[in-house]
Amino acid sequence: MAELGAAFDPTAPLSASGNLRRRQFVSRFSEATATGAAVLAIAVLAILIYTVAARGAGALSWEFLTTGEPTGIGPALIGTAVIVAIATAIATPVGVLIAIYLTEFAGPRATRIMKATLDLTNGLPSIIIGLFIFGLLIKPLEKQMAFAASVALAVIQLPLIARGSLEVLLLVPGNLREASDALGVSRWRGVIGVILPSALGGIVTATVLAVARAAGETAPLIFASSVFDATKVGLNPFEALPNIPVTIFFLSEEGNPTGFTRAWGASLVLIAVILFASLGARALLSRNRERMSR
């Protein structure tokens, strides 16, 4: 039998022998690289938030938040709130109903189709959705309107809410469904009375995350609500309403330093709202998971 040369002295001290020193160096180097990548990501986030906070804080004031152009972004805040609220009001019922269909009624073929539809819709670039809403509503009606923007945002929100609701509906313990079936309770009573309430926390979480997502979308608003009078508050969804993302976008393209300051201020408000909503949703999510698994 040929010597295969793996002999080592087992009684030698237990420090790295043979090629292990080099291999450990390679391993430690990769660990450092991976850690460095994570540090890089955190650093970029920190720089971003710091910049927005530092430059935007200077613009913040009560006046800034409540008055209109050119001193403040009050109407834009209201406008964004209206647009996002309408969008969420459209997307949430549709999304939850889709999720209920997938858990209660759908066969394998329908499930495949719906999952593919949701994934594809989720992957649509928002600029395409902007073009879509232009062609569907803005051009035929020959005017911009916030409602069209809401519809566009609802399309973006729909996959998020549907998937989030689906996840939490699937988590509803089987015995809960069985119990309501065993009691002879009809399908619809079971869903509305038992299943939905227990999934409510997750649905709310998904909705909050969808709100955070919609608040920051700019592209569809360029098409549907970009020509507006930002000096006063508007509430009519059938007109173009001032809004934060488009305001930031236009100010960023103008090249006017005072405009930049206002844009930083608006950015700070927008980021604050989005981060607050995201963190809140995440906290809700972990509390929910705990409750579900008990």
Partner: protein, 329 residues
């Protein structure tokens, strides 16, 4: 003599009627629930189809005028009614693939850090921070790009790269004020890293502990365990995640148009201005007055839609094959 007690066994008619009514309500209720849910699903499917329809419809004047030559022509002169998306397709591909080239390795490294290296507490903090990067609206990222990143890139990075690696045509002479394909690619990188990193992290965490233990027990270093077991068994999943990131990069309009400089030619160097399909639409649509201009932008959108759908479908297919392979075990 005992007499059996007589028990009336006729149910009072009133209760019978209400029980029937209840059952009828239940039938209606069930049917209504089904109908409403099915309608919602139909709405979603119809919306998706409508999006495709509107894209084709809006582009039809340009399609009938330019045909497929639109894809290769690089002339874009609104005043003369001449439109061609060649340089835009190039810009889209150039910026997105560069972003993927830069972003995917970083994201995978972050995913490995979060799954293999970080202690549970650190992971609980760093993971949400990375995901928060994805939550930042693109308009803010683009604005930051204009005022902070672009000057920095222009003053420090572009000259450095040109000086050291200038023999490569992609690192040509820095132009303009930092608004370039390179800056746009960096912004895109920042956008896609969180997506790929979160998915990769979950994939790596799902590799069974026993497999990694088996590799460790053979005297392998941490890196060797990752290279030999963790990465190979998640390979196609990571590819699917990267494709999803690519899709994001391809479709980004706002941040790109803010920093890319709206150039119209195909240039080899990253440091020149350029434009992408999405960026061009965002840039010019508000000001597009003529029918043909609008239609040409719709045509760009249609091309973007096709590319986006293809990469999404590919990601779904690879993802499904990955999930199936996991299930086989």
């Amino acid at each position: 003599m005992l007499e059996p007690a007589s028990v009336p066994d006729v149910r009072p008619p009133r209760r019978n009627r209400s029980a029937e009514r209840l059952r009828r309500i239940d039938r209606i209720g069930d049917g209504l629930l089904y109908g409403v849910c099915a309608f919602a699903c139909l709405l979603a499917v119809v919306t998706l189809l409508l999006v495709a329809y509107e894209s084709v419809n809006g582009a039809s004047p340009a399609i009938s005028k330019f045909g497929l030559g639109f894809l290769t022509s690089t002339t874009w002169q609104p005043n003369f009614g001449e439109f061609g998306a060649g340089s835009l397709i190039f810009g889209t591909a150039f910026s997105s693939f560069f972003a993927l080239l830069l972003g995917a390795p970083i994201a995978i490294a972050i995913g490995l850090y979060l799954s293999e290296l970080a202690p549970k507490g650190v992971r609980g903090i760093v993971s949400p921070l990375v995901e928060m990067l994805a939550a930042i609206p693109s308009v803010i990222l683009g604005f930051w790009g204009i005022l902070i990143l672009a000057p920095f890139v222009h003053e420090r990075i572009e000259p450095f790269l040109h000086d050291t690696l200038g023999f490569l045509p992609i690192f040509g002479e820095p132009q303009t004020t930092g608004a370039s394909v390179f800056t746009a690619s960096l912004i895109l990188t920042i956008m896609i890293v969180p997506i790929i990193a979160s998915i990769s992290r979950d994939l790596f965490l799902a590799v069974p502990r026993e497999l990694q233990d088996g590799a460790s027990a053979l005297g392998a270093t941490r890196w060797e365990v990752v290279r030999g077991v963790v990465l190979p068994s998640t390979g196609s999943g990571v590819i699917a995640a990267s494709l999803l990131g690519l899709g994001r990069a391809l479709g980004e309009a706002i941040a790109v148009t803010q920093v890319i400089g709206a150039g119209s030619e195909i240039k080899a160097s990253l440091f020149e201005t350029g434009d992408t399909l999405a960026g061009r639409i965002a840039n010019q649509f508000p000001g597009a007055i003529t029918e043909l201009h609008q239609a040409s932008l719709f045509y760009c959108g249609l091309i973007l839609l096709v590319i986006g759908l293809l990469s999404n479908l590919l990601a779904q297919r690879i993802g499904r094959r990955f999930a199936y392979a996991q299930g086989v075990k």
